[in-house]
Every structure is written in structure tokens, then in C-alpha cells.
Amino acid sequence: MANPTKKETPITMDVFTAGLWKENPVFVMMLGLCPVLAVTNSVENSLAMGLASIFVLVCSNALVSALRNFIPKQVRITTYIIIIATFVTLVDYIIQAISLDLYNKLGAFIQLIVVNCLILGRAEAYASKNSFGKSVISSLGMGLGFTLALVMLGGVRELLGAGQFLGYQVFSTNFQPWVVMILPPGGFIVLGSWLLLINYIEQRKTGKLIAEDLASHCSVNQH
């Protein structure tokens, strides 16, 4: 429940950028993994899934935030789920109207956005406690971060698995595609590799910090 007397902190750039990288829903918080792995066998699918998720995330968080003072605590989860399911149904029909091909490619995973923990999680943890504007900005950031992660996965998988990017041939025809990359195991392995890389970079960074810290500490002691 929102506390109406609590002073709202102003909307800063941080609200938006947090979701992009620092709290990236996929790489850092490990939320909403099912669509992340299932539809990222090409960049096109990744983008479509990302946009659909952004739409649902922003709309449902906006509505949750607008209604946050009216929803009794006991029925909040039910209410959130109804709201999310509504927007997912909308997206489902809109995508069918835009392109049946795309719809067939994404299959049931559009409807499965409903159980994407990211969306319910944000509604519960952020939108129900923050102002309308802040919730929209923050969920937009989260959604973009989610899309970014999807495209990073889809890009690697399409590039290695089909030698293409967004359908354009990147490698020469001599390139033997790593078919396993667009098969299910590839999804796990590419995500695992990205996580390893990110962990490595993070550790290098913190490792350096600790080293510098120690160095300065020692030099102080010596004096």
C-alpha cells in the first residue's frame, strides 16, 4: 500500500536507467526467463517480444500506480493479475491484427507474458508504492532493459546459429551455422555465457576497487 504522506522523491534519470543495466531484469534480477530463452532464436522475434512486454509492463504498471490508493491490500495481487491479463489479451489481438506470421512465430509465448514474473514483480514492488509518472518512467526503463537483454541473446543466437542478423546474411555462405545455437540448448548456453561475461567484468571492477582500497589503506598506515 502506498503511503500518501511519504514525500515523493523527484523523478531522476536514475529511475529510468536503473532498469537498463544496473538492475537489468534478465542479467541481474533473473526475472522473466521463459520468454527470454524461448523466443530469442532470431532478432526479429526478440524485438517483437520485447515490444509486447514493454507495452504490457508500462500499461499495467501505469494503471496499478493510478489505482494504488484504491486497491485494498487483501485483493491487490488478484487485481494486478487481472490488469496484467487484460493488457496481455490486448497485445495478443493487436499482434494478430498486425501480422499473423509474427503471431505464429511467437506462438503461445505472447499469452505467457501474463506469468512473466517481471511484470507482476514490478507492479507489486514499484508501481504500488510510487507515483504515476515515476512508475511509467521506471517500467519503461525496465522494459527497455528487458528488450535489450532479449536482443543481446537473439543477436548472438541468430548470428552464430544462422549467420544472419535481422534476416540479413552477415557471414559468407561458406559459414557453417552452429545450428545448436537456435535450438533450445543454445538459449541456455548463450544466456549462461552472457552471465559469465558480466560476472567477470563485475569482478574485475570490484577486484580493482578492493585492490586500490587496500593500497591506499596501506599507504596511510605507513605514514
Partner: protein, 195 residues
């Protein structure tokens, strides 16, 4: 083998299109609750049970919805149905089997956001399964989920004892393991298709 036959539907959901390793459904508990074998087993049991209940109920709901041409409410009804069947299962267990209820503990409410459950309901609808086929499909899916999560838990318990580099913390390693498991499960593809 006839793709419509009960045994094939079970086999397909269990091994060939394993919900976790081929369709990527139910990954959150798969990563989150697979650290210990006994908790994984309990989770698998609870999930399979809810899957079975919600799949049968959603079959009935779908009949009603199609009878009144209300297909556009399908998703909303399914999700409400799953949430309430989780509650129902919780209450029944509490009353009749407190031991099992305690063993499942906090996993039960978590199941609501397990996409594998909604996945079963949606797939059985889009494939037009009849009641028995739906039952067989949901049992297969539950068994498949259980198999995957227990295998994973076994692997992770063994890895506890190994000396691993720091960067393979938690999720990264789980993903790699899942990738290898998924590769092995690919061997099941094409089962029953040669006859």
C-alpha cells in the same frame, strides 16, 4: 505412433518437448528451487499436482467459454482459475495431509506464477485436446518438469563439492548445466515418429 494417442501425448510432454528443457517453461522454480534434491522433489510434486488440477478445470472452463463465444476471456479466466486452484490445493492439503502441506511450505503459492502451469492450459486448448488427452498431457508435463528439476538438483548437489571459479556464481552455472541437460534431452526428439 499416432500423435493423438494418449501414450504419445504423455511421452511428448515428458521427454520430447520437455517443458523446462525444450519449451523453457517453469524456469523460475527450475533455477530457484533446485539447490537441494528433497526440496526439488517437493516442488516437483506440488507442481505436478496443481498442473493436473488446473488442466482439468481449464478444460471445463474452455468448454463453457467456447459454448458462449467468449474466447477472448480465455486468458483472464485461466489465470484466475490457476490462482484459485493453487489456493484450493493448499486448503485441501492443509486439511487432509498436513505433513505434505508442511513439506511443500512456501512453494505452493509460488506455483501461481509458474508459467508451466499456464502453458499446459494454453497448449491443450490450442491443440484441441479432449479431456483424456488433456489429462495425459498434464501428467506428462508434470512428470517432465519433475524429472528436469530433480536431475538439475542432483547435478548442483554434486557441484557443491567441486572447486569452481568465482565467476560461475549461481545462475551462470545453472544456465550452463541446463544447456547441457537440454542437449541430452534433444536425443529424445523423433521418439515414436519412425513407426
Amino acid at each position: 505412433m499416432n500423435p493423438e494417442s494418449l501414450s504419445f501425448i504423455f511421452l511428448s510432454a515428458f521427454l520430447i518437448n520437455n517443458f523446462v528443457l525444450a519449451l523453457f517453461l517453469g524456469l523460475c522454480p527450475f533455477v530457484g528451487v533446485s539447490a537441494k534434491r528433497d526440496t526439488a522433489f517437493n516442488m516437483a510434486l506440488a507442481t505436478a499436482f496443481v498442473m493436473f488440477v488446473s488442466s482439468s478445470c481449464s478444460y471445463a472452463i474452455n468448454l463453457v467459454l467456447t459454448a458462449f463465444d467468449l474466447e477472448f476471456l480465455r486468458l483472464i479466466s485461466y489465470i484466475a482459475l490457476i490462482a484459485s486452484s493453487v489456493q484450493l490445493v493448499e486448503m485441501i492439503l492443509k486439511k487432509f495431509s498436513p505433513a505434505l502441506f508442511r513439506a511443500l511450505g512456501i512453494f505452493l503459492p509460488l506455483i501461481t506464477t509458474n508459467c508451466a502451469i499456464l502453458g499446459v492450459a494454453l497448449f491443450q486448448t490450442s491443440r484441441g485436446y479432449d479431456f483424456l488427452q488433456s489429462v495425459s498431457f498434464s501428467l506428462g508435463a508434470g512428470a517432465g518438469f519433475g524429472l528436469a528439476i530433480i536431475l538439475m538438483a542432483g547435478l548442483r548437489e554434486k557441484l557443491e563439492l567441486s572447486n569452481l571459479p568465482n565467476i560461475t556464481q549461481a545462475a551462470a552455472l545453472s544456465m550452463m548445466l541446463a544447456g547441457i541437460l537440454s542437449l541430452t534431452f534433444m536425443g529424445f526428439a523423433g521418439l515414436g515418429t519412425t513407426v
